[in-house]
Symmetry: C2
Subunit: 303 residues, 2 copies
């Protein structure tokens, strides 16, 4: 579906570019996606990548584009400065305009958040958090955003107070593709019981994490451990290690999960095992809500 | 240097094939090495790979070849069965003959060791341990063999009592090459202080391991953390996690390290920080000693 939009919302991550054509009232006209993630693009290739995806929908313009994610990194289209926490997840006054030769577009990029000590950064998740807070303005608790780089963020009074990033998703990919475990954990199926046991082991004996990984390979060789429970145990071991280190975040807190469905469910299961209920919100929906909120602020600046 | 040997000692690992031409009295005539590791070879390619390396030194034969390492794995030249611990590291009576069309060679492969519970396996390290025990027959303590798959083995009365494998070396490679840390930890230099701090942190707060990895990336982005201390911290974090999980092995024990020089020194430094002195033995020398000992047993079977 196409149609000339009032403005365009863009989520531009490392591996994916997603755009929504929007009406003035914030309704979605169309949604498109390409593989032209920031990771594959040189700085001068961003404009063409965006035009390839949405160019046929543009009128005379200029149409405002609001973008979040790695597009604002140092290696992205334009560097959009980090804001330091504690701060609200979004600040429409600090968007960074990207250089754009095509006069039909005006592109503004949302900056990420940084934390000085312990050092940490996010780009894109601040927009998801803002979308969640637009839906839940009184939320006071912790938001977990599972993924390649999982994030835990403390939210209070509409601000991100502190946050912590974990390499869990990338570690799972690197271990299951680039170590001897690749022979042992390739599976499209899942094993709830193996996952639950691994979570429990990781949280009760976190100091034994490093000992648990090669055991998967040895059990496959000696005991014919099948791939599905092996993969679920690897996932549970790594998510359990994340939960052990993130305990100060979730202990006794309300937790909201923003992420893809499968991985969010695994985190919710693991947290439920610890007596922590967690609600799940869809990541693409939260991103779009955050972009819509930013657009609304741009049109009607706060007094 | 060449010369027709009395027998040939072979260390055939996943990525490397090393052969020593030996005299009847156990002296080294020559040493050669190729990249034809077990990982690159189909089952019917092993004989040619060995002949490529040593064929020009053979007389009419048959010359005995004794081989250890992954050459005896299920995907190797011939599967050499694991023996279960507790047991001596070598048993010359259980070598497995490899199928060999060239009549100038008779190839026998040393089997690895297995542990039923917790499941674990080794192939090649048993020969290194045997070499160390040939030099130190009364050793009672713990041998650590750092590498891609680090091993800790309890030794008593000439037997391997139990052992545990850690994926530490492969994890370092996978994290530093196949995650976002690749932008942060590429360095040929080292940083002793950063390593020592990471070891200390890992051992005092092992439950925070997963939190320490992304911090390297964030500190590089926000504080210009240079690659050398970042790489040393990644190494210290992973070796520290191994030491935390292996504490029952090294606490209050005599520790011997068998490995490559650089990595062995890092382990020795980390153990010294914990008040545990460790001696270092060269891994190739121990392998050859173990192969020589096996050959001696074959020639003069125990009564």
């Amino acid at each position: 579906m196409t149609g000339t939009p009032d403005w365009i919302a863009v989520d531009w991550g490392t591996s994916r570019l997603r755009a929504w054509g929007m009406t003035a009232s914030g309704t979605e006209l169309w949604q498109r996606c390409s593989e032209n993630g920031m990771g594959q693009l040189a700085r001068d290739a961003f404009e063409d990548a965006l035009l390839d995806l949405v160019g046929d929908t543009l009128g005379h313009g200029p149409i405002p584009v609001i973008a979040c994610g790695m597009v604002g990194a140092r290696q992205g289209w334009v560097e959009a400065a980090y804001r330091a926490v504690p701060c609200p997840p979004l600040d429409a006054d600090t968007l960074t305009q990207a250089p754009c030769g095509d006069l039909r577009l005006t592109v503004k990029v949302i900056g990420g958040l940084k934390q000085i000590d312990p050092a940490d950064v996010m780009r894109g998740e601040e927009t998801q958090i803002a979308g969640f807070l637009a839906l839940n303005p009184d939320f006071d608790g912790v938001i977990c955003l599972p993924g390649s780089h999982s994030k835990w963020a403390r939210i209070s009074a509409g601000e991100v107070v502190s946050f912590q990033t974990f390499l869990t998703g990338e570690m799972f990919a690197a271990l299951s593709q680039h170590t001897v475990l690749r022979h042992t954990v390739q599976s499209d199926r899942w094993d709830d019981a193996a996952f639950a046991t691994a979570i429990s082991d990781a949280l009760s004996r976190p100091e034994r994490l490093a000992a648990r990984l090669f055991t998967l390979r040895a059990e496959a060789l000696l005991n014919d451990l099948p791939p599905a429970p092996a993969a679920a145990r690897l996932s549970g071991t790594l998510i359990g290690a994340e939960l052990a280190a993130a305990r100060p975040y979730w202990l006794g807190q309300d937790v909201a999960l923003i992420g893809a469905t499968d991985i969010s469910r695994h985190y919710a299961t693991a947290l439920a095992q610890q007596g922590v209920p967690a609600t799940i919100a869809d990541v693409d929906a939260m991103t779009l809500k955050g972009l819509v909120k930013t657009r609304a602020h741009l049109k009607e600046p706060a007094a």
